[in-house]
Symmetry: C4
């Protein structure tokens, strides 16, 4: 298939609640960047996290194989540093091949879960 | 009316929860791709599903008549294979005429439903 | 201010639940197209509703004054016909001046409300 | 990093519920414009709020330092006037450098929270 997507993506919203009503991984409060690499080449992606009152964190490095999707949980990022909870952030993705990025949060601070999702901003 | 839309669309987010608090079809946990064909020609659409750790599934074939909408439930796809539950996926739509695609999930794992929706990524 | 927006917008998702847990207008299940006319000229808008299995309804006519917003509830459309409940639909907006359209649903079928929102697809 | 984003953004949806089930700031009903300035220059932003039946409010002035994010709560705007509650509005952002804007609402009118989010409309 022809490649679909763009090489630079930004998600202005970011916030991982520290509270969850469940310890089940599927229902734990989390933020996800769903990354689709529909092309025939591996995608090497660099991720930078921006904060309100400190220098950005990163680069984080992510690889998505050809013809695969990767639902990256910001909660799982460890290297060079974890993403702090209860803290506003934004993220920028730079890939060497076209990808598609969508942002989703599952919030389970209360007994019932709440969801949000949006396509990220793309360029390039 | 003039045609509106594009021919290629991608939804990076995909996840159908296996749990539902209701067996009512309207309230069953589901993922939908809402497809609008506002033009005067039938839309022949090919759908491919991408996974994290296996080859893509498809092509699935969908036809939307002229001046009609079709709210496609991923749960209903059967041929060539059903979409697995509790599994991360992405999807790409390729149409022979311009269409508009929007992604929605209704999650009823808990007693209260939760919704997300976003316009898909478009190109071409 | 310079004009901002586009003249043609499409919302592929559409569904008004017939059930609501509240008769308070603010909490009644509803679908809204939020229309911003930030320019200096009145916006004359034509709205067409598309269905899965019948001819489109409309045109509906909406006027938004200069420098005003209008949060149009699909539930309130009457002329030429109301939008049926519990029915899949899509909508297309055509304006004579640039506008911005965002789609929101408040779902109160259950005791707790659920929300979705997305920027519509734009062209022209 | 190269700049990412655009200089003009519009959010057609706007509504701050006056009710909240919690006085915890994190769970208070609120509307947010998440603004990312990933570039190396300070972003000077002018914000205008549009209503259904009166002249627009503003300009509000916001500054986002280079390489920072700012999650602006509309509830916090004071100068030249607060944003009225339970009132439909839209907003337009004009920046002197490229930024990315995403719109989020947390609604806690009921015991369980509900979320919506979407990328804003961009131009220029």
């Amino acid at each position: 298939m022809d490649e679909i997507g763009r090489k630079r993506w930004a998600i202005a919203e970011g916030y991982i609640p520290s509270e969850s009503c469940s310890q089940d991984r599927a229902l734990l409060s989390h933020e996800t960047a769903c990354i689709l690499n529909a092309g025939d080449r591996e995608a090497k992606i660099t991720l930078t996290i921006y904060f309100a009152d400190r220098q950005p964190a990163g680069p984080y490095r992510v690889v998505v194989p050809p013809r695969r999707t990767f639902h990256l949980r910001f909660n799982d990022l460890k290297d060079p540093e974890p993403v702090p909870l209860d803290t506003d952030y934004s993220s920028v993705f730079e890939s060497d091949v076209p990808i598609v990025v969508q942002h989703t949060r599952l919030d389970s601070r209360r007994a019932e879960i709440s969801l949000l999702s949006t396509i990220a901003y793309s360029q390039g």
